[in-house]
């Protein structure tokens, strides 16, 4: 149970990295890059900070948010295509830097933090990130807020430089982040946590489907994209708004 709560929090944090509401038609593929950055910074800071989790999280969040602000400033006038290529390139380059770790002499290699974050720490971080993303909705800091969430996810799972990430795993992780955001609702900061919760609830079904679950995930996401472009949270919001409108009309 504790593990699944931790995984829900992590999925939601990764899903928040896709959250870039100010510009229509844009999708951020930099989430995995921010995750690797946050994890690496946490690993670097771990030694001097004597493994104090709060320090690691603050360092990871600050570095990822700063990188997010720099990238966002550089891509301010970019169209959707350029934005997608540049954000994907950032993730691939971060993965390449992480792989380059094997060339560093073992005495200089970055060790992973000795302690993993607990469930309540992850839950607290998620609540904070949702609040920050909600506050940043529509502002020029929304991309940096999403980057911060992904950086914190990296720090929590300790995605240290010691674990190189192949491109298949990278794109799989990106697909996972985008799926969480799309199914939950990518226009709201509450959508990705909602999507992560649904994904966790659907987990027993994958055990029933066995190997076919691997085959079914992709088509299910496509169906969700076609029928629920604003996600389940968007649908719930529309339904609630419609109910309020009908009620107001009835009262009038």
């Amino acid at each position: 149970m504790a593990l699944s709560l931790l995984s829900i929090a992590l999925s939601a944090l990764v899903g928040l990295s896709v959250f870039t509401p100010p510009s229509a038609n844009r999708i951020s593929l930099a989430g995995v890059g921010f995750m690797i950055l946050g994890g690496t910074v946490a690993a670097i800071v771990s030694g001097p900070a004597h493994g104090v989790v709060l320090v690691l999280l603050v360092a990871a969040a600050a570095s990822a948010a700063f990188a997010g602000m720099v990238i966002d400033a550089g891509l301010k006038n970019a169209d959707a295509k350029t934005f997608a290529i540049a954000t994907l390139a950032f993730s691939v380059v971060m993965a390449l830097y992480a792989s380059a770790h094997r060339y560093v002499p073992s005495s200089h290699q970055i060790a992973a933090p000795s302690r993993y974050s607990s469930t309540w720490e992850a839950g607290l971080v998620l609540a904070l990130c949702v609040a920050v993303c909600y506050a940043a909705t529509g502002s020029r800091f929304s991309f940096a807020a999403g980057a911060m969430a992904a950086g914190l996810a990296g720090a929590i799972v300790s995605t240290s430089a010691a674990q190189p990430l192949g491109t298949t795993a990278l794109i799989e992780l990106l697909a996972f982040a985008v799926s969480i955001a799309v199914i939950g609702g990518r226009r709201s900061a509450f959508g990705p946590p909602f999507g992560a919760l649904l994904a966790a609830l659907a987990l027993p079904l994958t055990h029933i489907a066995g190997l076919w679950s691997v085959y079914l995930i992709g088509p299910l996401i496509v169906i969700a994209l076609i029928w629920l472009p604003d996600g389940l949270f968007g649908l719930a919001q529309q339904t609630f708004d419609g109910y309020l409108r009908r009620r107001a009309d009835g009262a009038a």
């Binding site: 229509a24 959707a80 390139a89 996401i221």
Partner: protein
């Protein structure tokens, strides 16, 4: 420069160029970054391995890789992109590309094409030719020839025929295209099939060289293809191909000089190239000097 480095760069450049050409044409025609192309590359490589395990001839392996990628591309456009096209949102199309990538991984898992196998790859890569002191393997020559052929064929099909015009019409205005006699549910999927086939050929050629199979597109190939697409004007296959070969040559030269340095220098170089591409694109974009509406 060492002739061996140049020969290696020609091979890498061919694979990068095939991915870059497919990506840039997709960006131009369909207007989004299609990550299904990575799936097409992997599918091409997996089919090549499956056919190599059955001791099929080389042309059959290549054809199988291209055909599997083309079928995947057709189905992706017909069942995922076609319904999404009416909404006109590119972010959903990118998400659909990622979902299609997961479908490809699922297909490989179900048909056990993702198992790690090691096959002898001796026939083509060991045959050596020597022209004027320039030594290269038969596989390197085949890669360059196939790259040029596939890219020229894609360019002609998309930019020099009525088919290409039909694709544009069907994507931009499906109703008007229907009046012109262009079937909006058949023509764009065929174009996507051709684009994915080019990426699949890249995967098949790459798989022919490597001994151990891994479901992966090397990160250096992907980032180089993205960098070439970013520098070249969207849809310009020839410029993307030239940049692909240039980037492969630079990468090989750095690796030959110091492999440890290349692990850091290559990503940094690609990052700089992509940043330059972003700068060029945002400067040349219409209305770039006007203040963005808030």
């Amino acid at each position: 420069m060492d002739a061996k480095v140049v020969a290696g760069a020609l091979f890498d450049g061919s694979v990068i160029a095939l991915v870059a050409a497919a990506t840039t044409v997709c960006l131009d025609l369909f207007g989004f970054l299609n990550l299904m192309l990575v799936g097409a590359f992997i599918l091409g490589a997996a089919e090549e391995y499956a056919f190599a395990a059955a001791a099929a001839p080389h042309w059959e392996r290549l054809a199988a890789g291209a055909l599997a990628a083309a079928i995947a591309g057709f189905l992706f456009d017909r069942f995922a992109l076609h319904p999404l096209r009416k909404r006109g949102t590119t972010d959903l199309a990118v998400a659909a590309g990622l979902a299609a990538f997961l479908v490809v991984l699922g297909y490989l898992a179900i048909f056990r094409l993702d198992v790690s196998v090691s096959l002898p790859r001796s026939v083509l890569s060991q045959r050596i030719a020597n022209i004027g002191g320039f030594t290269f393997s038969e596989l390197q020559a085949l890669a360059v020839a196939l790259c040029v052929l596939a890219c020229v064929a894609l360019h002609i099909a998309v930019y020099r025929t009525r088919f290409g015009l039909g694709v544009r019409a069907a994507i931009e205005n499906p109703a008007a295209a229907q009046f012109m006699g262009v079937r909006a549910d058949r023509v764009p999927p065929s174009a996507m099939a051709a684009i994915c086939a080019v990426a699949g050929i890249g995967g098949a050629i790459f798989a022919m060289q490597s001994g151990l199979f891994a479901i992966d597109i090397p990160a250096t190939i992907l980032i180089s293809a993205l960098a070439a697409c970013m520098l070249a004007p969207t849809g310009s296959v020839s410029i993307a191909v030239v940049f692909s070969f240039a980037l492969a040559l630079v990468d090989r030269a750095i690796v030959a000089r110091d492999p440890a340095l290349s692990a850091f220098a290559t990503p940094t170089l690609m990052l700089i190239v992509i940043a330059a591409g972003v700068l060029l694109r945002t400067r040349s974009a219409p209305g770039a000097h006007q203040k963005a509406p808030t």
